[in-house]
């Protein structure tokens, strides 16, 4: 199905080969920054870029905020995520079929604070969305919740 967005290493390599342009809209875009305050970065392929309102995200991107940073992200299945200061959030897997609403959404909060409003993926399949911290796994049946992890 053309609307399925499963992002693999191949596309990632392709994106690098073509010369990475953070603002350009790729077919593999899965989300967009709607809020970016203070220091907000996107890590992709071992490189770090500043993120702005309108910057697109791809699966396997990591979002990092500084001490004064916070960011809000909307995904193509209408999942909403936001993170507070000193946070590290990795999108590990994301796929969404816009016809069937089947998909998968795995993210890892390594540090900081996270606010979630789950979207169509979690609504369609109760086990399709998972949020991890270094020590916990959250199975998301819906809809709004908060996560903090730290030492």
């Amino acid at each position: 199905m053309q609307t399925t967005r499963l992002i693999g290493v191949r596309r990632f390599v392709l994106a690098c080969a073509l010369g990475f342009a953070p603002i350009a809209a790729w077919a593999t875009d899965i989300a967009q920054f709607k809020v970016a305050k203070g220091a907000v970065y996107l890590e992709r392929g071992g490189k770090r870029f500043p993120a702005y309102v309108g910057t697109h995200l791809q699966a396997t991107d990591t979002v990092v905020t500084g001490a004064d940073g916070s960011a809000g992200i909307t995904f193509i299945d209408n999942s909403l995520l936001s993170i507070g200061p000193n946070s590290v959030l990795a999108i590990e897997r994301y796929a969404f079929n816009s016809t069937t609403h089947e998909g998968v959404f795995d993210a890892m909060l390594t540090r900081g604070t996270l606010s979630v409003v789950s979207g169509k993926i979690a609504k369609q399949s109760p086990d399709a969305m998972k949020i991890r911290t270094p020590s916990s796994i959250l199975g998301v049946r819906g809809t709004e919740f908060l996560v903090r992890t730290g030492d």
Binding site: T3, A25, Q32, F33, K34, V35, K37, V53, G54, S70, A71, G72, I73, T74, I76, N78, L80, S82, I83, G84, P85, S87, S98, T99, T100, H101, T113, L114, S115, V117, S118, T133, P134, S135, S136, I137, L138, G139, V140, R141, G142, T143, E144, F145, L146, V147, R148, T149, G150, D151
Partner: protein, 196 residues
């Protein structure tokens, strides 16, 4: 640092190391007051959060389930909550029967879509086609996507950048009005625009 302080400090560090991360998970009521459900699992155990402000906490002592106060939520998560993107909103459009023309009411709805986009940071939309329960799935999937693509071209002609528009065909999976199988129902033949 004096030697006698070092013992307890080292013990604390070791304990902290074993306990891995300190987590706090809080379930919030939805915007309409409903409460969802989150299953929290870690090596110390597992718990289900299914009431407003139910909280799971992990520390050296294990996994505790209790409640978070609103002031704690504000203190710990205030900045993250303030950064939440605007909620997506949906508009529904109908066609004059057997044509590509929007009904008069739907023309007004398109104006509301444009106004909503103008209000949002980095606005995007998904145009989602829906069919009634007449006809087989594959046909309805194709038909609904076709209808969504047509609406996309109309919106592009009205000045919305194609980069901001995704299309989807939901076929007969999400009827607005429940009907028996094979029933032709104009209210289900519609296009939904989700603005995010």
């Amino acid at each position: 640092m004096h030697q006698r302080y070092l013992g307890p400090l080292v013990a604390l560090l070791i304990l902290g190391g074993c306990a891995t991360s300190k987590d706090l998970v809080v379930l919030l009521p939805d915007k309409d007051g409903k409460v969802g459900k989150v299953l929290v699992q870690n090596p110390k155990g597992e718990t289900v959060l299914d009431s407003a402000y139910a909280a799971a906490r992990t520390s050296g002592g294990g996994l505790q389930r209790n409640a978070a106060s609103q002031s704690e939520v504000k203190d710990v998560f205030g900045t993250a909550l303030t950064a939440m993107p605007p909620r997506p909103i949906s508009f529904t459009l109908y066609f004059e029967s057997g044509t590509d023309e929007f009904t008069d009411q739907s023309k007004q709805e398109v104006k509301r879509v444009l106004a909503e986009m103008a209000r949002r940071p980095a606005p995007e939309i998904t145009v989602i086609g829906h069919t009634d329960q007449a006809g087989p799935d594959p046909l309805n999937d194709a038909l609904s996507l076709q209808r969504a693509e047509r609406v996309k071209s109309m919106l592009v002609n009205m000045g919305i950048s194609p980069d901001r528009i995704l299309t989807a065909g939901r076929g007969r999976r999400e009827p607005l009005v429940r009907t028996a199988d094979k029933v032709s129902e104009p209210r289900n033949r519609r296009v939904e625009i989700s603005v995010r």
